[in-house]
Symmetry: C2
Subunit: 138 residues, 2 copies
DNA sequence: TTAATTGATACTATTTTAATATCATTTAAA
DNA sequence: TTTAAATGATATTAAAATAGTATCAATTAA
């Protein structure tokens, strides 16, 4: 069962890398090229990922020579749930379980209610894990 | 975010249909054709799904004229978690999160531990939802 | 013997995901 | 002013996963 796509995976790697360099205080703005070298990710694909993070106001982007990306949301405030939702949409297990014919009567379905509880738990937990934590835990 | 595949979806529909006819006491053995008519599912595809359920000892299958499928595991003992695992493998969020480079040091990773807890909760909850329940809740 | 069923396997089509190619725009520095 | 190095945007291609079809063999009750 696949829970995160490669988009999300690469975004996490890039952000964790950025967070680590931030901790060391050596860098503010990181280029795509730097991340590609460090993490061995496909360049143009990664650029689109970083662009999307900038678009979502998670990163700031700077164009031109000496340009690159920096955190807009500090890594300590940036959760796993947030990054997943950027690339895979809002986490909503009730929407993928039992939709359509399987569960036409949404409001009356007891199963849906149960899954809602599961979902809330998952989101709460994923919300509590930050990029900063991830960058320190290894 | 897709949590169940079409395999699982169709399997659930078929099993729920079978469970409903079982309740009414009219039928024991159900044919693929019957399910296809009632649920509008692609026939050959569904056959493979039912075959797999038989192979996994969830259904019994009977060949020849008047053949078909019946429950081997009673629907009250058949959980959502079980059906999902047949078509999508064991539910293991820790295995899809943070694998490979992202989390090379499995044992030391605090995040993995957190996700393990999430995972256990999800499985426990999905294990408590049965086909019988699903066939009654709508 | 036949019709209706499942068993098994090979194949095709569709959709999603991943990755590349390319050109425009921006900007600091030579 | 020019140039190099960066992001912005978009079109295209490639690969993988998912979904579905086709077909024939084996079984079995009528």
């Amino acid at each position: 069962m696949k829970f995160i796509t490669r988009d999300t995976d690469y975004a996490l790697r890039a952000l964790i890398f950025m967070s680590k360099t931030l901790r060391q205080g050596h860098k503010r703005i990181v280029t795509t090229e730097e991340i590609v070298c460090a993490e061995k990710l496909p360049k143009v694909f990664l650029r689109r990922i970083l662009q999307k993070l900038a678009e979502k106001k998670i990163l700031s982007s700077y164009k031109g020579k000496t340009g690159g990306f920096s955190f807009l949301v500090p890594p300590g405030k940036l959760s796993l749930a947030c990054i997943i939702s950027v690339f895979q949409g809002q986490i909503d297990l009730t929407n993928c379980f039992l939709k359509g014919k399987i569960c036409p009567n949404r409001s009356a379905c007891s199963v849906r209610k149960k899954i809602k509880v599961i979902n809330a738990g998952v989101i709460k937990d994923l919300d509590s894990i930050t990029i900063q934590e991830l960058s320190k835990s290894r």
